[in-house]
Symmetry: C2
Subunit: 229 residues, 2 copies
Amino acid sequence: MKEVLPQFNSTFSIDCVVFGFDEGELKVLLIERNEEPFKDWCALPGNLVRVDESLDQSALRILKELTGLGDIFMEQFYTFGNVDRHPQGRVISIAYYALLRLGGDKALKPITSYAKKAFWKNISDLPKLAFDHQMIFEKGLEKIKRRIKHQPIAFELLPEKFTLTQLQNVYELIMGKKLDKRNFRKKMLSFGVLKELDEKQKGVSFRAATLYKFDRRKYAKLFGKEISF
Amino acid sequence: MKEVLPQFNSTFSIDCVVFGFDEGELKVLLIERNEEPFKDWCALPGNLVRVDESLDQSALRILKELTGLGDIFMEQFYTFGNVDRHPQGRVISIAYYALLRLGGDKALKPITSYAKKAFWKNISDLPKLAFDHQMIFEKGLEKIKRRIKHQPIAFELLPEKFTLTQLQNVYELIMGKKLDKRNFRKKMLSFGVLKELDEKQKGVSFRAATLYKFDRRKYAKLFGKEISF
DNA sequence: ATTACTTAGTGTAGTAAATACACACTATAT
DNA sequence: ATATAGTGTGTATTTACTACACTAAGTAAT
């Protein structure tokens, strides 16, 4: 980078709407801020983008710092750029959503200075959020609602092996409505992207359900054909 | 704005993929650059965002400067932020697509310094573009392909009064495939968002077609129900 | 007036997909 | 053995999708 463009006193940040599914609930990852502005407020995890990293890299880094996890499914969904969205200057925010397999409680480690702690919160029970993060959250939720209808993102929230009931649960939570069990199974299996395993659910006090896994290979073969819920 | 955040030698720009429909062809608006870098190259219209304008405002301004038109349908669709996408520094680009009613040749007026001229180009016959604009264009086209299936954006490309054949044409061009005339009409009319006018096409040397217009009022009433092509 | 030409406008039958709906089975816990 | 809680299955009905070909209306040329 030889020359530098005129300075506009501007910079940009990434904010992440991180969804997790656990105990039958859809949750979102929040932090409690340790810095002005909005010190002590809850917020979506986010940070400034470094000059030497791409947006995608930056989003991954931010999540890594906060959860210790890599290999997370993330996708950019909108950029928020109202002039007054940040009280200290012109900061636009590129928003990502992420889907996380929760299971066996992976420790959250907010070792970063700007966050006191990180925690999961049920999406139907959110506190007031800093900046315009309420809006960012809503737009993120809307996005995965649309996305889940046509692309197999629900699997990203589940462990590798899951039951059809768990899968249906995820769909119902994201879509915000009940689905018919028989129709759901029929349709889901008809896509041919699930592999039935020779294995049953364990540790339940009732009839154990068959486990399935998502078959990426078969999904890739679908090509243009659309999955559609 | 009191304080200013740490400087990262970064700034941001808007780039627009502007679609127009004319003489049965789908076109995109390009400029010929008059500035380094990429002087004399073709590019998508775009510019830096001013510190006192929102992203949406900025996109509208850029188009206004170039076409003299306001009241244009625009939507942000992706933000491009690879580190090396701009040879002179870290510039991320927030991309918008826009849909324009062409008709009665509205003059393009590239009165801005950075563009020598602006012109329409058929989307199947694009020259090499500056920066990563080829990628931006492709992603924009992909976006409207998806969007047209569920939302009534095709009307934005047509004059207020249009024939069903013209409408079908737009769908075919964007979707990139032929549609059956009878099925198209049946389905389109079944949504109930078109108003048949007491008026016929004029100036054609064959049987004149009935004109229709899009009825926003009826569309608003559809609410959750999805239009789907 | 006749004709040739070009696009507008229409219907149906067959197929596939979506929906609505209820009960028996199985594993565990007591 | 029995109560419990969730698993797993089939069919009939309705609705949407697809494929397909001719007549009607207006214009232009002779």
